[in-house]
């Protein structure tokens, strides 16, 4: 799979005159698993939405190595609160493939495979909004990965999940990364960041405060604020 590159130049997002993000300059090229870290309100989610193209920039540019239309087809996004279509588990899994007009036989094969991978093969006819929180998040992840995207964005996918569900989701993410999917994910869980990250983007006050390899960031953060954040101190 040819890796898609994403970069932001002087990116700014304003809402009602207030700057939510930026200015941000960011290049995401080689890393396979990028974790976006930062305190609440630091602009992590906005950064993710901008990179995915669902949040418009007030100023600056988002550059992709493909055309916008092609890039959007090769991306998927998992939200912090999983959005379930008011349909069965089967229909939720099939939906992204139906949008692409894939043949029914291919859709059914993939639905069965992914339902098995997330442990919902016996729940295919259940109404998806009635699943537990962990099941919903696994279903949302499977629905994102079923299209085999080049880039997968995840906004705190394990927030409010128990240890078992978190482990299952991390296993799916590691498998996706091994198959060539670039993953960009926000998290509050420092342990999860240490387990998964190849590189780190540390956000503070709507700006990228520090960016680099995960090992270097955790062992020797370059800025005082990042060090304080890693020590569990309140950073603003």
């Amino acid at each position: 799979m040819v890796s898609m590159t994403l970069s932001l130049q002087k990116a700014v997002v304003k809402r009602r005159g207030k700057t939510i993000l930026g200015p941000v300059d960011l290049d995401l090229k080689e890393a396979q698993f990028t974790i976006v870290l930062g305190p609440n309100g630091s602009g992590k989610t906005t950064l993710l939405r901008v990179l995915h193209g669902v949040e418009r920039l007030t100023n600056g540019t988002l550059s992709l190595s493909k055309s916008n239309e092609d890039a959007r087809q090769e991306q998927a996004y998992v939200f912090q609160s999983p959005i379930m279509l008011r349909r069965t588990v089967r229909a939720n899994l099939a939906y992204p493939l139906e949008l692409l007009g894939r043949p029914k036989s291919e859709i059914e094969t993939k639905v069965q495979r992914w339902a098995h991978r997330i442990g919902l093969e016996d729940a295919l006819e259940r109404h998806a909004p009635r699943l537990s929180g962990g099941e919903k998040q696994k279903l949302a992840l499977a629905r994102a990965l079923i299209r085999e995207p080049e880039v997968l964005f995840l906004d705190e996918p394990c927030a409010n999940l128990d240890g078992r569900s978190t482990r299952e989701i991390e296993t799916l993410l590691i498998a996706a990364r091994a198959q060539g999917t670039r993953i960009i994910m926000t998290t509050h869980d420092m342990g999860q960041a240490r387990r998964l990250a190849y590189d780190i983007v540390f956000m503070l006050g709507g700006r990228v405060h520090e960016q680099g390899a995960a090992a270097g960031f955790f062992d020797a953060p370059k800025t005082q604020e990042a060090g304080a954040f890693l020590n569990g101190e309140i950073v603003e």
Partner: protein, 234 residues
């Protein structure tokens, strides 16, 4: 009280003996109201959904006008349709006045804003829920509308049934454009108005009970066909 009992008795005998006139009037009522419902739904369901997801300059004004049109006085609608379809009107050449088609046109005008407005309310909530996901999946406008209509079909059914309820019980407009002609444009509501005018309250009540039973039967039938109350089935 005796009028009510007499009405119930009249309704009972009209139904049991399958009175020819009653069957004809009931069939025409169903034909006119269901035709109007189908045409109005084809217009109002996509329009209400489109209005929920589309942002444009005069959107608020359009919604306010749509909500205001829900309260269109049927008699005024009937009068306007009458003028349009009369011999000297712009559509007089089609010769539709005092036909069931004219009654259908009037009912479509009356119930379309009602169905569209209820659809818009329901779809607005669903769109708020689905917005991020559908944008993220890079769906086209058509795909968004189709997804919302399919997933919101139960709310849309309620909107359609509200439209049917208004259509089947409507009398002012269809009296004007239909003329309440025996064996041609007479329906349950206009027949009730006629019998009341003649002082035959028992028969008027009997027809009224038939009308209520018909409205309930159609509602129950549609709900059971769409299985809206079966929890486990989706």
């Amino acid at each position: 009280m005796s009028d009510i009992w007499a009405g119930l008795e009249a309704a009972f005998w009209l139904i049991v003996t399958l009175d020819g006139d009653l069957v004809e009037i009931t069939a025409r009522s169903l034909h006119v109201s269901l035709s109007a419902l189908i045409i109005a739904s084809c217009i109002a369901l996509p329009f209400g959904t489109w209005l929920a997801i589309r942002r444009f300059r005069y959107r608020r004004t359009a919604i306010a006008v749509l909500n205001a049109l829900m309260g269109l006085p049927p008699v005024v609608v009937g009068l306007i349709v009458y003028l349009l379809l009369s011999r000297t009107g712009p559509l007089g050449v089609f010769g539709l006045l005092f036909t069931p088609t004219a009654m259908i046109i009037a009912q479509v005008i009356i119930i379309t804003p009602l169905i569209a407005s209820i659809t818009h309310q329901a779809m607005r909530e669903l769109w708020a829920e689905y917005h991020d996901l559908l944008i993220s999946l890079n769906t086209s406008k058509r795909q968004r509308i189709m997804t919302l209509i399919w997933d919101g079909r139960r709310a849309l059914l309620t909107a359609a049934l509200a439209g049917f309820g208004r259509a089947i019980g409507e009398v002012g407009a269809i009296m004007i454009v239909g003329g309440n002609i025996d064996h041609a444009t007479r329906v349950l509501t206009t027949a009730i108005a006629l019998e009341t005018g003649k002082g035959d309250f028992a028969l008027a009540l009997g027809l009224g009970f038939v009308l209520i039973a018909l409205a309930l039967a159609v509602n129950i039938l549609i709900h059971s066909l769409s299985q809206t109350e079966q929890e486990g089935r989706w």
